[in-house]
């Protein structure tokens, strides 16, 4: 069940109505290794970052609190433009401190932080903060203000007139998936998940190039958290912000991050890498422990199912004639996948039973399990389907739920081997060429969301 919700794609139609075409995720859009495509996506969005490059460079920064605690120790990080960088690590490792040094809620003790090449202390602190959205754990909504007024806070501070600020707030409510009917409510009349959406909308209100998020989703239940994560990614695809996201949940980090900075207690950086690399090559034992079990399987999330060789041999329509069935039910095919007239899967039939019978009995089929979306879902999803399937075969469907083929566990295992080999090859080439970028071998970044 958890695996299921794991793969719930961005956009839950039940909640939000039709998904905009740009919201469609075809992998790797904003990956730093995929810079070109990321730029292109940003150019599409209406709220482009007004030409400001929001690269944040943390240079050998140390934070020593007055009581002597060293919360962050000579940390250097380059936070890439227009992508999600996640700071993750055990409690008390200095994630919040790092984040808050960026908007100067905490003043650093040593080192410096550059925003777009300029030291952050060069501009007035409140100007700096207004150029960065800030989202915190419990949303921190103003309970005395309605939802629209909460969202309109920063635009109002920036001197927008009330009408414009409200219009903007209403736009954002829609963007974060909040019903316009909630506009006049007060925060206490909203669920925790809705409040968190308002928090995100409020941070986005003045269209800041940078978004700082401190465990924004940790106070909501796992299901809502998954939805919020998916929506954040969707919004990010549309807006292309530079997001610094703090969490202590490594799964969240892997799901959301283009880059993940794993920190260890004492405020030291343990590893800074894309999630795929983190999973395949943890820098040390600490990172490996922190990543936890099942790294190999989890890493499959980063391989697309697009290269999987499917077969349509066992697929028959429910109204197929006995002859057609007999033709399909060869020795290699112990089970037949029965589809309805539109090509949607109905279930598996034992080939032996089907042959010689009077057509197919839709009521006697074995469950086909949950199919995976070919090309969009990852190899991990495909493998999961195969493992859960009563026949050991995974059913691949297209975006409309029509069967495009089936794949056996063996086929999937082969694809996994190939993908690994190819990824390794590309990494080697990359290392040889010394190039930081280049699309991943199978290019299936984030198909697993």
């Amino acid at each position: 069940m958890r695996e299921r919700s794991h793969r719930t794609g961005p956009g839950n139609p039940a909640r939000r109505g039709p998904r905009p075409v740009t919201g469609r995720n075809i992998g790797g859009l904003n990956s730093p290794r995929n810079g070109l495509r990321a730029r292109a996506a940003q150019a599409d969005s209406r709220h482009v970052r007004k030409g400001i490059r929001a690269l944040i460079r943390i240079e050998s920064v140390t934070k020593r609190y007055p009581d002597g605690t060293v919360a962050v120790d000579r940390l250097s990080l380059e936070i890439p433009d227009g992508s999600v960088t996640v700071l993750v690590g055990p409690s008390g490792c200095g994630k919040t401190t790092t984040l808050r040094m960026i908007n100067r809620m905490v003043e650093l003790s040593e080192g410096r932080i550059l925003l777009d090449g300029a030291d952050i202390t060069r501009q007035p602190v409140n100007t700096l903060r207004r150029s960065m959205g800030y989202v915190i754990q419990n949303a921190g909504l103003f309970q005395h203000r309605t939802i629209v007024d909460n969202i309109a806070t920063v635009p109002r501070m920036l001197g927008w007139d009330r009408g414009r600020a409200r219009t903007r707030a209403m736009d954002l409510m829609e963007r974060v998936g909040l019903d316009a009917g909630l506009a006049k409510r007060y925060p206490y009349q909203l669920s925790g998940g809705q409040q968190q959406r308002v928090g995100v909308a409020r941070a986005l209100a003045a269209d800041p190039p940078v978004l700082l998020m401190d465990e924004p989703f940790s106070a909501v239940d796992p299901i809502v958290r998954k939805t919020l994560q998916a929506e954040l990614l969707r919004i990010q695809e549309e807006l292309g912000k530079t997001i610094v996201f703090v969490t202590h949940d490594i799964d969240e980090a892997i799901r959301l991050g283009d880059m993940v900075a794993v920190m260890r207690t004492g405020g030291k950086l343990a590893q800074f890498a894309p999630p795929d690399e983190l999973l395949s090559a943890p820098a040390d034992e600490f990172v490996e422990d922190f990543l936890g079990a099942g790294r190999g399987v989890r890493r499959l999330s980063f391989f697309t199912s697009a290269g999987l060789e499917l077969t349509t041999d066992p697929v028959v329509a429910v109204d197929a004639s006995a002859a057609q069935i007999a033709e399909r039910a060869t020795d290699d095919v112990p089970y037949l996948l029965v589809t309805d007239a539109d090509g949607r899967p109905l279930g598996w039939a034992r080939a032996k039973d089907a042959v010689g019978g009077e057509g197919l009995d839709a009521a006697q089929l074995l469950s086909h399990g949950r199919p995976f979306e070919f090309g969009r879902d990852s190899l991990r999803d495909a493998l999961d389907c195969a493992v859960l399937s009563p026949t050991g075969w995974a059913v691949a469907v297209d975006g409309d739920g029509r069967v495009v083929g089936v794949a056996s566990q063996e086929t999937i295992a082969g694809a996994i081997r190939d993908a690994h080999a190819e990824r390794k090859g590309s990494a080697d080439r990359k290392a040889a060429a010394g190039a930081p970028g280049g699309p991943g071998a199978t290019g299936a970044r984030r198909t697993a969301r």
Binding site: Q143, V154, Y188
Partner: protein
């Protein structure tokens, strides 16, 4: 004879309704003393409470001051001020203000200090300055508690303003003091009823003010 009889007699006596000793005049005097004292006390205690609450510092000093001020007996202070300063508003204002400051001060401090820190953090992170944070984020949320401090002060001031009559000032206390002196129980009870009524009116007033100034988002679900 019950006190209700006296009350009835007092209010149905037409002569009690006009002149310098008439009920309207006395009520106005009483309100004047009360609101003046309340205004001065609020003028002192609100800023101090807001600032100390906002910075979260000085809470212990504040508690000490409030405790000391509470220990001062209002009636005694009034008589003493009368000896030292003579007849006038000042000797009345001093004990009344001393009475009203502690509740306003302590509640304001505590109300602002205990405001949920996360909206405050969010506000600072959005680039609000300290004054904006105090007035746009902390104050609206602290308002119900601050108002309860003001109300409590108002009730006590209205009650205690009655003793101003003891040092030859007006107000509703006049009826009680004069009545006691003249052994005219009807006037005494009538005056006491009016004072109690005024104190209850204060509760109603503050209830109304709260309805008007406190955001429904804060008042919620009471």
């Amino acid at each position: 004879m019950s006190i209700f009889h006296f009350i009835n007699a007092f209010f149905s006596d037409g002569s009690h309704w006009h002149g310098y000793d008439g009920i309207p005049t006395r009520i106005m005097e009483h309100l004047q003393y009360s609101f003046m004292a309340l205004g001065i006390a609020a003028g002192i205690a609100l800023p101090v409470g807001l600032i100390t609450g906002h910075t979260g510092r000085g809470g212990n000093a504040l508690a000490l001051i409030a405790t000391a001020a509470r220990a001062l007996p209002s009636f005694g202070l009034l008589v003493l001020m009368f000896f030292w300063l003579g007849i006038g508003l000042t000797p009345v204002m001093i004990p009344l203000v001393a009475l009203a400051v502690p509740p306003i001060l302590v509640t304001t401090y505590e109300a602002v200090r205990t405001v949920d820190p996360s909206p405050v953090d969010a506000a600072r992170g959005m680039g609000m300055g300290p004054a904006a944070v105090l007035f746009q984020v902390e104050l609206p949320v602290a308002l119900p508690l601050i108002l309860s401090g003001l109300r409590s002060a108002a009730i006590q001031v209205v009650s205690t303003a009655a003793i101003a009559a003891y040092v030859s000032l007006g107000g509703l206390g006049r009826y009680v003091i004069d009545g006691l002196y003249q052994r005219n129980y009807e006037i005494v009870v009538g005056g006491a009823t009016l004072i109690a009524g005024l104190a209850l009116a204060m509760i109603a007033l503050f209830w109304l003010v709260e309805r008007l100034v406190v955001s429904p988002g804060v008042r919620r679900g009471r």
